[in-house]
Each structure stands twice: as C-alpha cells, then as structure tokens.
Symmetry: C2
Subunit: 346 residues, 2 copies
C-alpha cells in the first residue's frame, strides 16, 4: 500500500496494527485527530507509539480525505441469501476499514421500495457514500443526481457512462461457458438466462450469443429462456419449461449458480443424471458450489476483489469528487468440476 | 397482526400495502405523521386512502412508540459468510420493516475490535437499538450499561439474566443429535464441539453429555474436541486430530453444519465413506445443507423465526423500556438425510 518506486518499502498500516496488536481500522482512527476520540486512550497511545517506531506515514489517499465525515459507508445488497454477496461484502469491508471507514449494510431483498427506503435511511444517517449492488438498467438512479452523495455500483452496473462501477467481465464469462461446452462436443446448448434488466443478465447472454456465432453454431430459439430473478426457483421453472417441451438439448448454461441448482432439482424429478444425460455450467463460483452433488462446473468471478475495487473507487471519489467516475472490469475464469462432460464419452 | 378476539378480523398493514401497491414499511412511514416526509407525497396520499378504505387501524405497538426516533436499528452479525445468518437477518428485517424501522447490518467477522468499532459507529449514527448475534460469554457486554441503547441478543445469549435474547434451545438440540445416533446403534460417538465461550457451543455440548448420561453410555474423553470457531477449517482440524489418533469411533456430532463439512474433507482425504464408515450430524440446517454430498443430517433451528422474535423483543423494549428483558427460546428438530446410518446396516 505504501510502496514508493525507487525507495525502500515503508511500513504499512497493517504493520502498525500488528505491532500495536489492534485492528487496522483502529490504527486509522487512532492516527486521525478527528476520529481519535472513538478509540480507547491507551489503545490510541499504543498505536501512535507503534507508528513512530516503524516510521509509518499514513496513506496519502486517507490523508487527503476531507474532514467532517461520518466515516460510515452504506452498502446496498440485493439478496444476502445468495452466498455470492457475503464475499463481496467482505472485500468492501476490509478495504474500507483499512481507510478508517465502517460499512453499514442493508439487504434490499430485490424490492425496489425497500431499496429506496434503505437508501433514504442511509442518507438520513449521514453516510459519506454508498456502494450499491442493486443496479437495474431499467431503473437507472436510486440516488438523486442533484445531491452529491457519491455512489459506486458493484457487481452490476448501469450503462449510463457516468457511474463508477466494479464488475466482472460478464460478456467474457458467458462466452467462456459456451466455449467449454463446445470443446466437449456439445452444440445443442440451452441458455437459462438471468433477468435482462440487470447488466449481469444482459451481458452474460450477449457473451453466450457471441461465442455461439463465433463458432458458427446456430442458436435454437427454443433453447433460450429468460428468468425474472437469479434464484433457484427461477432456474427450476425455466429448466422445467425447457424439458417439458421435449427439447433436443445436451447442455445448459445457467444464469448463475443458484439457477444451476434449480436445474439439478428438475433433473432429480425427471430421473435425469448430470452430467451423463445433461451437462450444466453455472456462473459465479459461489461459496459451496464445490460441495454440491455433482460439484458444479462454473465461471468464477473474483468476488472479494470486486468488492475491494468498489471500495477503492468510492475512496477515490471521496478524495477527489471532481475526478470522472471510473469503471473497473475484472476477468472471470472457468472452473471445471463434475457437472459437465464430453459428449464423446456418452 | 391486527386480529382482535371476538371481533371480525380487521385489515392488516399488509392489506393496506397490497391495495396501495407499496411495501409494508412504506405504509408505516406514510401513516406516521413523524415519518411521512420520508415518503413521496403521492404515495403517502395513496396509502392514506387505502387505509381509510379498509378501515385500517395501526398496530398499537407501533403507535405506542416514542417519538424522535431515527427509525434505524443496528444489526451486528459475526460472520455473513456462514449461510446461517442471512435467514436470521431476513426475519429481523421483515419484522422491523413492518413496524417502519430499517435495519443497518454490520459484519463483525468474529473480530472483537471490529465489533466494538461497529457498535460505536452505529451509536454515532443514532440507531434506536441494536440486535447482536455476537454475544460471547467471556466478553459480557459490548454495550455500555450506563447508556440506554437497548440491545437484544439473537441466536447466542449471555447468561447474565438481564439481557433480552432470542435463541434456539441448543441444549435440546445437542441431545437430539445424540439420541438419533444412539437409535441407529452408535455408542462410540465423538463430539467436535464449537467454542465454549459462546452459548451455542457450551449448551450444545452440555446437551450432548446429558443425552449420553441419560442413555447410560460412557463418554470417552478421547472423542471430545473443542474448536476455536464454528468454521470448516476448525471442523477439518478437529476431525483430523480425532482420526489421526486412530480413535475407535463410528459417529460424529459436529458443532455446526460448517464443521460437519470440514469432517467431509477429512473423510475424502482418508478415503472414508460417509455414512458407510462414519456417520455425521450437523447443527442449524443452514441453507444448502440438503445440497451437500452426502446431504447432511442435522438439527434444524427456526432461523427466520429466531430473527423475527429478536426484532419483536427489541420493538417491545422500545415501547416499554422499563419492562424486564425477556428471553425467547425456540425448539429445534432433527432432520434426517444421508450422512447418518444405522450401525446394524454395516
């Protein structure tokens, strides 16, 4: 963090925390005269001694922050029941706390009214900024653009060109899933897609289509279904629809890992074996996807790093409100487990 | 919610929400003159019209609440990565929002310093109360007892006799796990216990011992191990220790479902089959435990209801601060899946 080119690496905030035997967030607060009162007096003294001993110089980003802050950041999460979100929250939290900020999380439960309400409650509690994983393309701004509360989107993004965001490359991820199945000899590939009103749903589907076109494999419209949510019930509903129609299909790209689990349910109900009868690829590599039966082949996104990047973007905006918002796009990768297999083994 | 004995059921807040096509939390805010400004004017009008049309009378608990509140409640969660907590948060959230309150969640990551920091950040943001799932028996109060910020513990509890809490009956749950295994013919039963500084760890272990004693089955001290955390790595460490010693054991009661997953890892590494070689019982019935390989036999706790009860206790305390704090203890039940089997089938 405090490495400067051409000079020996200097002590980091974590070094000070280790020496003083406190949490990094405590170091930030103890070294900032404005927040020092939040720290026990003995602890603050120990931190200042440790910083002096190590010759620690606070991060210029943290030093550059304006005063009169609340040192809290609102984090809007659409669905805490989806195990994807906790690792993202962890990344946000670690990075914010290193800078002395505390995240306050609200679970909007994919409910727009609740989302507005949570956003207003956070604004009323005077958070310094908001990180939102709730972006919907059809509902562009939760924030009132007239006010200057900085908002950074995480995992999902708007397409307005003016909002800061940290996401995975969902287009690339959709293509990776298709390329994996094509390599295994599949051509009758279904897409049970997530909602098209959310960037993750839209871009994964675009990536699916692009990879099929690239390989010259025709897309059968009967094998394309769109869900209303990234959930197990929606995966179940779409897979049931697909198979009830007697579709000629050997592989399924699911909108995400939860939708893939919904497919597992339909297979069990229809006495189909995965991967012998049907291959499935999920998306996210959410916690526990390696524990499922069968362990799920999926597109892994760097969940923790996406959260950390979103926090960095927000800290940047707090330091320099006039800087144009940036977008950070992180690469996904394929994780092959046991839910996909070669057609040639059949 | 608004049913009164001897009279026809009257309209509920949810009925009004449905008619006005808004979230129940919005109804609460729109009908409370103090919070009406948080709601869009047209929406507030629509809610008031719907309430009048249905003859809705606000819940007396909500009406009795003191004024000058922030209508936000802090929720301290020790580990959002444990899928047990999101359903509890959902229960808290639904109940609070019905009363017009917004929960703000902090993930303390089982770090005491972070816990203190989050608590202070919430107090500084003027929350009206705190629901904490972070109680440690060896660290009795995060709250300063001198101040009057109401705190309710959830899932875990203190044993001070003065703190409100909503928990599962962990003692009973520990006993249920043992009784299930005894019925299957097991007597060489190990306990890989959670931390003894947390009520859930302590009480489950006491329940384990009580059920063994009740059945007259001796407890072999070599089969009892205590973990430092309710995590997969701790489950792995304890199970590895247990089996590395060549223990004579046919069944394991794990401290919780994550620790049971740690056991699965050790079995895989040692080429042991569950349940053929060893039976395992988890605790919590956390989301996805039915998806594991094998699906996990476990003690189910009513996660959503525990959260909802904690929210009710806090709303009670906000209404009548002088009422002695209550504890609510909800019954667990056994869920038999495929990780346990009869010794007689061997």
């Amino acid at each position: 963090m405090a490495h400067v080119a051409g000079r020996p690496a200097s002590a980091t905030l974590r070094d000070v925390a280790r020496l003083a035997e406190v949490h990094p967030g405590t170091v930030s607060r103890a070294l900032n005269p404005e927040t020092r009162r939040l720290v026990n007096e003995d602890t603050a003294r120990r931190v200042m001694d440790a910083a002096e001993q190590l010759g620690y110089r606070p991060n210029p980003i943290a030093r550059g922050l304006k005063t009169n802050r609340s040192y809290t950041i609102g984090v809007l999460v659409p669905d805490l029941m989806n195990p994807l979100f906790p690792p993202i929250v962890r990344g946000i939290q670690d990075r914010l706390e290193q800078a002395g900020y505390t995240p306050l999380i609200a679970n909007t439960d994919n409910d727009r009214e609740r989302e507005r309400n949570d956003f207003e409650a956070m604004r009323a509690r005077q958070v310094d900024g908001v990180i939102a994983a709730t972006a919907r393309l059809d509902n562009p701004e939760s924030a009132d653009p007239a006010d200057d509360l900085p908002v950074v989107y995480v995992l999902r993004r708007l397409e307005d060109g003016v909002s800061a965001s940290a996401t995975a490359d969902d287009h690339k991820g959709g293509a990776l899933a298709v390329e994996h199945l094509l390599e295994l000899g599949h051509t009758r590939i279904a897409h049970l897609s997530g909602p098209q009103g959310i960037s993750t749903g839209r871009e994964r589907h675009a990536g699916f289509l692009a990879a099929m076109a690239e390989a010259g494999v025709p897309v059968d419209p009967a094998l394309i279904r769109f869900g209303n949510a990234f959930t197990e019930p929606e995966g179940r509903r779409l897979c049931e629809e697909l198979l009830a129609g007697g579709a000629d299909v050997t592989a399924i790209v699911a909108g995400n890992d939860l939708m893939a689990l919904g497919c597992y349910d339909v297979f069990a109900a229809r006495d189909l074996h995965c991967p012998r009868d049907l291959s499935v690829v999920g998306f996210n590599d959410m916690p526990f996807s390696d524990r499922f039966d069968p362990p799920l082949t999926t597109i892994a996104v760097p969940q923790y790093d996406i959260g950390a990047s979103a926090a960095d973007l927000l800290l940047e905006r707090l330091q320099q409100p006039s800087t144009p918002p940036r977008t950070v796009v992180l690469a996904p990768h394929l994780v092959v487990r046991s839910s996909s297999r070669s057609l040639r083994d059949a």
